[in-house]
């Protein structure tokens, strides 16, 4: 098969030369693209229901599977947050809730949202669906491994949820799982709960490594003809860099999970110093709790960017498509993504300014942390400069993007507070931190996810989502979420510490009662608003407007498949050949306001398109 494919490609390249020669009188080799280096990928096509939809090797199906499972766990995380907010806002109505429950919900909410929802959704969901389509591949390079990756994730989620049903319940040690308290009596779920958490995280890391290898090799080694790295849509750049971060950061999580399980199960003392509990000295000694914090945050900080970078990439593409304008400063955007990714490995201890580590580290980590602000700010400028002099379609997708810019800039600015070591001292471990990270890595990426859902739903299902419902969904979510987290910063200024089960007996906290009630009410509404999306999806699947090909008039390859939704193998007979970047919108002299990536130069010689 590979041999005739090569021939076919050469023939095709020649034929495009002859076609392009007609009319415009240009030299025939201006459309020349090197022949394929690699023979065609041989795909396994499922025949039964099981091989087609369950143990499926098609990256698109795996992407949807990831998306659905991550959303399912995300809804559990949402319900947990409702319960927490009920306790904080209306404790008299939450009589069934003990402090143990509260801390368990806090922990599981955090872990689910960060790892099992956002990471899995961006990389597993969008990554699987979009990478092969956007780089012009038939599938991921190792479809079988890719399938196993999803089912590993499935088992990891199963183990995580199983911890709700074991004696003692799930761990309640905070999502950071700090020892010694994580494995000692006095913390809920310090028995089976924490062990299952460690096992689940290890499974997640293993499963993710399988997927991550696929994403990286597909992007590096399986691009279609003409697709250079600097022609990739920023979505791919974001997912690529995030995956690199994940491959290098998850090892630290794996190691800390292994070591903590050993401390719990075998009685080793990696993280356990001499401890006196209830008048008795425990059989631990000589370990270092701060070592765990270093390992955890060496994972934890890149993790923030594992969530943020795909969001950056996706939102860049959405803004560009819907303002009918090329993304401003594409190369700067790429370097900013790569630079942020690289720097994110040198800032981890800014989570530990008041952890009792050597205070002299503060100087170094404050400096590196604030350096990251520069490429991040550049990205923000480029987003708004893309809007400037654009032709902005004010549809639902664009609304989510604008919502993203507002929440992200807000959360980014408060990040400068917390990264700057002195400013962090009064604010760390207060509600200011909660407000900051929810704004910047909760709400902002969520805005992008929602925008991406409205943007790519037509591709995945062939039908449009309802704009009217979409706008209701957006305003409810954006206004609600903003009114949850913006005022919450001020609780932090007062000094209200985080992870307090109740706090009405302190003089300066009583003033927060009203605000807590308000925040809780907003939280219930925002959560409920998400069901508009589910209703919209269900409704549109049945009676949505058929999307047709390329409904948004976008340039990138995923919209150029011969059938919508794309079939297994994506491209039908022939792989696409790429001649340009994904951002040739509104080129002066062109007939339409977009030039798709496969348009050969000879067709647009009369336009002022810049060489890319």
């Amino acid at each position: 098969m590979s041999e005739d494919f090569k021939d076919k490609n050469i023939i095709q390249a020649q034929s495009s030369e002859t076609i392009s020669g007609s009319g415009s009188g240009v030299s025939p080799d201006m459309d020349y693209v090197r022949p394929a280096e690699i023979p065609e990928q041989d795909l396994y096509h499922g025949h039964s229901f099981i091989t087609k939809w369950v143990f499926c090797q098609d990256a698109k199906v795996i992407g949807v599977q990831y998306f659905c499972l991550a959303t399912f766990t995300g809804i559990i995380g949402l319900i947990l947050s409702w319960l927490m907010r009920l306790q904080l806002g209306f404790p008299e109505a939450a009589g069934f809730m003990t402090a143990e429950h509260y801390y368990q919900f806090v922990t599981m909410h955090g872990m689910i949202m960060v790892v099992y929802f956002l990471t899995a959704l961006f990389l597993g969901g969008f990554g699987n669906y979009l990478i092969p389509l956007m780089v012009g591949a038939r599938d991921m390079v190792f479809p079988y491994v890719n399938m196993v990756s999803f089912w590993m994730f499935f088992v990891a989620v199963g183990v995580l949820l199983a911890s709700f049903f074991v004696p003692g319940g799930p761990t309640g040690s905070g999502w950071t799982l700090y020892p010694p308290q994580a494995i000692l009596e006095g913390t809920p779920g310090s028995g089976m709960g924490i062990i299952l958490m460690c096992v689940s995280l290890a499974l997640f890391v293993i499963g993710f490594t399988m997927g991550g290898l696929n994403y990286l090799i597909t992007i590096l080694q399986a691009r279609t003809r003409g697709m250079t790295l600097m022609r990739l849509p920023l979505t791919v750049w974001g997912i690529f860099t995030a995956t690199v971060l994940a491959m290098l950061a998850f090892p630290a999580l794996l190691v800390s999970a292994i070591m903590m399980s050993l401390d719990k199960l075998l009685g080793t003392s990696f993280f356990m110093p001499t401890i006196l509990k209830a008048g008795e000295v425990l059989e631990y000694g000589g370990g270092s709790p701060i070592l765990f914090q270093h390992l955890f945050w060496f994972f934890g900080h890149p993790e923030v960017y594992i969530v943020a970078l795909p969001a950056f990439g996706i939102v860049s593409d959405l803004i560009s498509v819907h303002s009918r304008k090329n993304i401003f400063g594409y190369r700067m955007m790429v370097w900013a993504i790569v630079g942020i990714g690289a720097l994110s490995f040198f800032v981890w201890a800014h989570h530990m300014y008041v952890s009792g580590m050597n205070p002299w580290f503060g100087f170094f980590f404050a400096t590196t942390t604030l350096i990251i602000a520069v490429p991040t700010a550049m990205k923000v400028y480029n987003w708004i400069l893309t809007l400037w002099r654009g032709n902005i379609r004010m549809n639902t997708v664009m609304l989510w993007c604008l919502g993203f810019i507002v929440t992200f800039v807000n959360g980014g600015i408060t990040g400068i507070f917390l990264g700057n070591v002195t400013v962090d001292v009064p604010l760390s471990d207060t509600y200011f931190v909660i407000a900051h990270f929810h704004m910047v890595m909760g709400i902002a990426p969520l805005m992008v996810i929602m925008g991406a859902v409205y943007h790519w739903f037509p591709l995945v299902t062939g039908r449009m989502l309802s704009e009217k419902l979409g706008k209701w969904h957006f305003w409810a979510t954006f206004l609600g979420a903003y009114s949850i987290y913006f005022p919450m910063h001020y609780l932090g200024f007062i000094g209200v510490p985080r992870r307090y089960f109740e706090m009405y007996d302190s003089p300066y906290m009583t003033s927060a009662v009203g605000m807590n009630e308000f925040i809780s009410t907003a939280a219930f509404l925002v959560g409920a608003a998400q069901f508009i999306l589910i209703f919209n999806i269900v409704k549109s699947l049945k009676i949505g407007k058929p999307a047709g090909k390329n409904p948004w008039k976008a340039n990138s390859l995923e919209w150029l498949t011969p059938s919508v939704p794309p079939e297994h193998g994506n491209w039908g007979e022939r792989l696409p050949v790429v001649h340009r970047w994904a951002y040739d919108y509104s080129v002066p002299g062109a007939k339409d306001d977009f030039i798709v990536q496969t348009t050969p130069p000879s067709e647009v010689v009369h336009t002022k398109v810049e060489k890319t």
Binding site: Y144, Q221, A222, P251, T268, F270, G286
Partner: protein
């Protein structure tokens, strides 16, 4: 292996070549098999796992309040009534490094399509690995016999036992997985799967001797990690 030939692209040496490969379309690493690229990236990730283990070990060793035991005494082996420090470890290291040599030869014969030699050398590598794991089991049982446990250690700091068993155990697991795969691959070589391009069990990719090289990368990595473990545990 000679440089790959890429139609329509001139491959240049040095940084210039790297830059032009990166800027080109289709692939970043020209002529590199997908599986091989994957193995390199996986090994990079695995390097971080072992680095985290070893850095934790250094931190643990530096900050433990009880004194760290003297490795040349703990790991001494009685040969003919004389305690020889590091005797067993020296043999283990020698065996593992030798198996790396046989692995490299297997790759060479594989690319020369010398099925028999390649098969025997893969098998020899597997046996070397198996010997290593066996000797490690012996060393573990000796230490356990002497009272060293993950949670306690009669010679000094309990963290010695914890880190030793955890890190050598994790490395030993890597070796064992490698040994299993070496046996499978030896079978596949002898059965001719790489000569006639038979597809593997879980993949639609055709069998090729490049798989021997990919496994070889893993094996050399495991060997290299051992050198670091050796240096940090036995020589420090």
């Amino acid at each position: 292996m000679s440089d790959p030939k890429i139609e329509g692209l001139e491959l240049k040496p040095g940084f210039k070549g790297m830059a032009s490969d990166t800027a080109s379309d289709q692939t970043m690493f020209k002529g590199v098999h997908w599986g091989k690229a994957m193995m390199w990236i996986f090994l990079l990730s695995d390097t971080f796992v072992f680095s985290c283990f070893l850095i934790s070990y250094m931190k643990g060793r530096a900050s433990t309040p009880v004194e760290w035991p003297n490795p040349s005494e703990v790991f001494a082996l009685n040969a003919f009534g004389v305690p020889v420090p590091l005797l067993l470890i020296a043999i283990m290291t020698f065996v593992l490094i030798t198996s790396s040599g046989t692995m490299a030869l297997a790759v060479k014969y594989g690319y020369e399509r010398n099925r028999k030699m390649c098969g025997w050398l893969v098998l020899a590598t597997a046996l070397g690995g198996l010997t290593f794991v066996g000797m490690q089991a012996f060393e573990w049982s000796k230490l356990i016999h002497e009272g060293v446990r993950p949670w306690e250690n009669p010679f000094g700091a309990p963290q010695f036992g914890s880190y030793f068993f955890m890190i050598t155990g994790f490395h030993g697991t890597h070796v064992s997985i490698g040994v299993i795969f070496l046996f499978i691959y030896a079978y596949k070589v002898f059965a001719g799967h790489y000569d006639n391009g038979k597809k593997g069990w879980f993949t639609t990719m055709k069998g090729d001797y490049v798989e021997i090289e990919i496994l070889g990368l893993y094996w050399h990595f495991v060997d290299l990690v051992w050198v670091f473990i050796f240096a940090f545990f036995y020589l420090w």
